[in-house]
Symmetry: C2
Subunit: 298 residues, 2 copies
């Protein structure tokens, strides 16, 4: 096992982020680009990658690991899904090598819930990284986003997970539904009371199909206005997501993601008497660095 | 009480329908126009109405009753909501007269559920008409659509109701979400097996936020394709709506609406062991005719 630097990359649908890590796993430099896979033409991935990170790869001793949608059918090179349960070993043995021993794409994971499949790409790396950062082997982790993931980890392996299209539903209702007419142009700052009220209604058990209509009626009777309504709708969708998972009171949940979003989830989970730990975007780099150690130890 | 003919009008968001009824309530003629209130400029309602139905109003003995969104703030003349419980008498005493004794707009209804208001405009008329057609005083009625209504009637009065944005959610997911990429351009005929599978998953209790993602994953693993996926998504949203209401097995539900839509709801409710009776668009004419009798009896 030689001491190598690592180029850790998270190439998602809408963004491309990379970090250069020293052999001890410390970040030397980070970069982010609005070059998600949707912006790249088929056959154009190598060129985009070279433009963004080529200088970091001049050191022939650098290993490059890429997580995220770059491994999907629409990405750079397909890395077929790895079935759960999966930890570092399973992910390492399913890498799709772009250049043997030099550059690999991390596979996403798949599992089966209630007879239908579920998938993730990129989140597995963040989850495994968060376990390392927190030095834990068992956890329930939540990764809020366009497609939120709830991930159950036991003995260091991802056993199962569920996807919620929460962020996407919010955007659809916000931009394209009848509610768009009553909501303000911009979300503005979070109105905590309105958010809590939305979470509270969602936790009572009604479907979002029904609760969402209250954005319109509260506005119609002028019982809530503009900016508060956007926070209220956010509370309705996030509240519905948190309600849908059985989390025993007192359970610790690990939230991974940006402060703005994880703070909302923490607030929503508080109404369920669930305490949280928050981990930021560094989880992805930690996950890829630990994966690199697994590969190099083989 | 003089024997008068009735011009019964249902002026909704996207369509304008009218029927001319003889003093016994028989439909003499029906007309429909793509002139929903969204197509009419403020101040332009009288002119549109005259173009569509002016000839039927030449008989000075004709009464005209207009139900639907024409009574909203964005409509012809606002008819403030009438609070539940409400039957023919309450609706009749809240009419907004456009021409005294000659032409009136029927008010919508409002009620309160779990601390938030709910509203309807037009459906109250169909519900009251269906009660007359079926000669019943107590029922649970469902009016599927863009914004479906579940209406509880006791002793001939609408006690409460709930709105579900089911049709709108379907359209949003169908046209604007990530699922649009895997769904075919047109829905095609209903694939009953796929629809039933969607209903079945929804009835297991997971949120639509989660179940909707299975449209993508079933397609990803080629376990369901094109036209079947659209029927499956329809089953997911309608199934979620039917799950959200407590309906004791053996309850009779009255479905009001077009055959295409009420057949889907009947199929979904079958999985809950609920039997249905179906009533078509004639419910609106019957409701307005019965309302006319109430007014003329005063």
């Amino acid at each position: 096992m030689s001491a190598r630097t690592l180029l850790a990359v998270d190439w998602g649908t809408s963004s491309l982020r990379g970090a250069w890590l020293d052999p001890q796993g410390q970040v030397i430099e980070e970069r982010a680009f609005a070059r998600g896979i949707l912006t790249v033409s088929p056959g154009g991935f190598a060129a985009v990658f070279d433009t963004c990170f080529g200088d970091w790869l001049r050191d022939k001793n650098t290993l490059c690991l890429i997580a995220g949608m770059a491994g999907s059918k629409q990405g750079w090179q397909e890395a077929p899904y790895c079935a759960c349960p999966a930890g570092f070993d399973e992910v390492a043995s399913h890498l799709a090598w772009v250049q043997a021993g030099r550059m690999a794409i991390v596979p996403g994971l798949c599992c089966e819930n209630a007879g239908v499949p579920d998938v993730m790409r990129g989140e597995e790396t963040q989850v495994l990284g968060a376990l390392q950062l927190l030095d834990i082997q068992d956890a329930l982790l939540v990764l809020p986003g366009t497609h939120s993931k709830w991930v159950t980890v036991q003995a260091g392996k991802i056993r199962s997970f569920s996807t919620f299209m929460t962020g996407e539903f919010y955007a659809l209702l916000r931009q394209h539904s009848i509610l768009a007419r009553t909501l303000p142009q911009n979300d503005g700052d979070l109105d905590q009371d309105a958010f809590d009220q939305g979470v509270g209604l969602a936790l009572q058990g009604g479907s979002l199909l029904q609760t969402a209509f209250s954005v319109r009626t509260l506005s119609l009777f002028e019982r809530m206005t503009g900016p508060a309504l956007a926070s209220y709708l956010s509370g309705l969708v996030i509240g519905e997501e948190t309600r849908s998972q059985s989390v025993a009171p007192g359970t610790r949940v690990v939230l991974i993601g940006s402060d703005a979003l994880t703070q909302r989830y923490e607030r929503a989970l508080m109404q369920r008497k669930v305490s949280v730990q928050r981990v930021g975007a560094e989880a992805a780099w930690q996950g890829l660095w630990a994966l690199a150690q697994t590969i190099q130890a083989d």
